[in-house]
């Protein structure tokens, strides 16, 4: 609501036409009415505080120094000691694993599942640690995902991995799993439950690093457009918070708008085109979340605007563009490689099942920087500008064994547990 009225009065105060038609007053009336109605309802709500499990003591300070940097800007995930420090599984290996995914319909999820099915499962089956993986998908239907989590618990899973459809709504189901002695691991973006073990990239940090690089490239001044993902989604909010934090460091940079790209390039393209059409002022850069940068790029092309620096890092297409146009940007960050994020979650889960004892409720990792020189080995030859394949830093580089070990009380090689 704040944004709604702010833009009207701050950005266009002199634009309000005195002699505008009656219809436009009606328009205003509708907008104002909606704003008033919304504010009234909004008034009832408490001020917007991220409802993290604030009561839990943060243990970040007790982590090794190298790890503490990964917790910058984190506000939404529990940072207390992990409830699974002394976890013992219901029974010994081989374990039955449940994977409750909220959605399967985009390339990221496919990338993650491919790593799970094609690499991780065969590898761990061979060692006799894992019996099988049961997968469910909720198609973004929250009640369905809750039901599926309970169903996985009832089916006798020893551990459940999820990508949640919501930040807070799964808490009861997670508690249900915990009460039944099931290890619960949440990957890609956090859930608010203290009963979950969370493993994820720090997307806010990634966003901040991305826009810091962007701001530098822009020479510290100019107009920036932010392309969000799905604004209501946790990860999208994290990225945006990071983007805004990074840009705040440059006093000459002004954010002139934000559009929702829905993490789909065609949607991003449409939204950016609409924005460009009514904002003829010079644009200095675009802060994007992959996917969305391909759409933003082609929107610029189609609108006949100059190509401005952006913040690619996820999909290969924009990196291929950078490969051919080295002056476009200086530095890119990959914040969420799907396969590697799956593997980190898997490894944490296995280590916890083996009794290695995670130290903290949320295990985070920083983004992977990509330089122009890296592109040669990251991009397969012939990658086009529209490729929506994901860049995967090798897992060893994304989450080095050494770093992972630091997160555990009793670290060991997950493939060769002691005892």
């Amino acid at each position: 609501m704040k944004k709604l009225s702010a833009t009207q009065h701050e950005e266009k105060p002199d634009q309000l036409p005195i002699n505008c038609s009656r219809r436009s007053f009606l328009q205003k009336g509708v907008i104002t009415g909606l704003a008033v109605g919304g504010s009234l309802l909004g008034l009832l709500n408490k001020p917007r505080v991220w409802a993290a499990a604030a009561d839990a003591e943060s243990v970040v300070g007790s982590l090794p120094k190298e790890l503490q940097q990964y917790y910058e800007l984190v506000t939404t995930t529990p940072l207390g000691p992990s409830i699974y420090r002394d976890f013992k599984p219901k029974k010994s290996a081989p374990w039955l694993i449940g994977y409750a995914s909220s959605f399967g319909g985009n390339t990221w999820r496919i990338g993650a599942r491919t790593r799970l099915q094609k690499t991780l499962l065969p590898k761990y089956k061979a060692t006799g640690l894992v019996k099988d993986v049961i997968t469910t998908e909720a198609n973004l239907d929250l009640p369905k995902q809750i039901q599926q989590i309970r169903q996985l618990v009832d089916q006798g899973c020893d551990a459940i991995m999820t990508i949640g459809a919501a930040h807070t709504a799964l808490d009861a189901a997670i508690k249900y799993a915990h009460d039944h002695g099931v290890l619960f691991v949440a990957i890609q973006g956090g859930v608010s439950s203290p009963y979950a073990l969370q493993v994820s990239g720090n997307y806010a940090l990634c966003g901040k690093l991305q826009t810091q690089a962007l701001g530098k490239r822009m020479g510290g001044k100019g107009n920036v457009l932010i392309v969000q993902g799905i604004p209501q989604a946790q990860a999208s909010g994290d990225f945006q918070r990071g983007h805004e934090a990074g840009l705040k460091e440059f006093s000459g940079i002004k954010i002139i708008g934000a559009v929702a790209g829905s993490w789909v390039d065609s949607v991003a393209k449409t939204e950016v085109l609409k924005f460009l059409a009514t904002h003829p002022q010079r644009l200095g850069g675009i802060a994007t979340q992959s996917p969305g940068d391909i759409g933003a790029l082609s929107a610029l092309q189609q609108a006949g605007r100059p190509i401005v620096p952006m913040t690619p890092g996820g999909e290969m297409g924009p990196l291929a563009y950078w490969r051919d146009h080295p002056d476009w940007i200086d530095l890119a960050y990959q914040g969420w490689p799907p396969g590697d994020e799956m593997e980190e979650g898997w490894e944490v889960m296995l280590r916890t099942l083996e009794g290695q004892g995670p130290k903290i409720a949320s295990i985070l990792i920083g983004p992977g920087p990509i330089t122009h020189a890296d592109l040669a080995h990251l991009l397969p030859p012939g990658t086009t500008y529209t490729s929506n394949e994901w860049v995967e830093p090798p897992y060893e580089k994304w989450f080095p064994r050494k770093t992972m070990d630091m997160y555990f009380e009793r670290p060991a090689d997950p493939l060769q547990p002691k005892g």
Binding site: K3, N106, D265, K274, T278, A303, T386
Partner: protein
Amino acid sequence: MTTTHEGQLGRAGRLDLRGVMTQHGSVAMAGVVLVALIAFGAFSIDGFWSLINLRSNLVFASFLGVATIGQTLCALIGGLDLSIPFVVGAANVGLVKLLNEGLPSGAGIVVVLVLAAAIGAFNGGVSHRLRGQSLVVTLGVGNAVLGLVQILVSSEGVSGISGGTIEGNIPQWIESLSWFNNSLGIAPAVILWAALTVLTILLLRRTWFGRALYALGGNQTAAERVLVSGPWSWTLVFSASAVTAAVTGILLLGYSGSGYAGVGDPYLFTTIAAVLIGGTSLVGGRGGYGLSVLGVFILTVLQTILSSYSLSSSAQEAILGALIIPTVALYARSPHPRMLI
């Protein structure tokens, strides 16, 4: 007019003012709203009149406009097609799959359109048989179709083709359909839309089939008495609706350059909104595609204005919703039962 004529008219039951009102009133109303919006946009928004804004707005309008053809036809016979977004998505990813299989683009499009026609025919046939349940029939069929297409398309599962989005070599000419920086200065999609608009209006006004649709929307039994076949008309109309949805899907494929099953999602309610705001009533028999074109323009201009005020898409959605009730209440109210006795 002689006095007898007046007397005759005067004595006759009741004059249906609503009938006169809806036809002319809604054109006037929609026109006034559109002009007001354009005036407001022109006065308050920088670059509203810029060539790029007009051209890109026309392209957006053409996508919505093509999809609205089908919805308008369905509304005229008293139906509602909720399968449009699903067919848009299915055609969008389905065509990429066909192209990836090595089919020439022309043949691929023909296959997609024929399949869409078949789906629409099923929609229409079943909806007619289950009179008036078209809303749920099309919803069910749409979900089934999109689900099935995605299962088929992603059959390889992991070879980079995922159901949600699918990549392929989209022929240049399909992509160029929505380019407006060409020698014409206008996107071929817009020209296609204009042609389809003329065709649709001709169909509705100048052909016996078009008139038969109005008759069917007005009184189904009477229409069957004058040998207008209900089942056939429903089948054909819903077929046409699915085909226009598929055309929209193909245009959107060219526009975004890659297939995405959810590309049709915005068309679930916007096609209905365009029909309603234009002034075609959902109960059938009144209105026309010309009105829907006005509705499409109103929606497009409104969206431009709202997004230029940096309103989030949620706020835009809310305002669109808030706009529907007064517009419909102004000229598409149902008569009080007392007037029907």
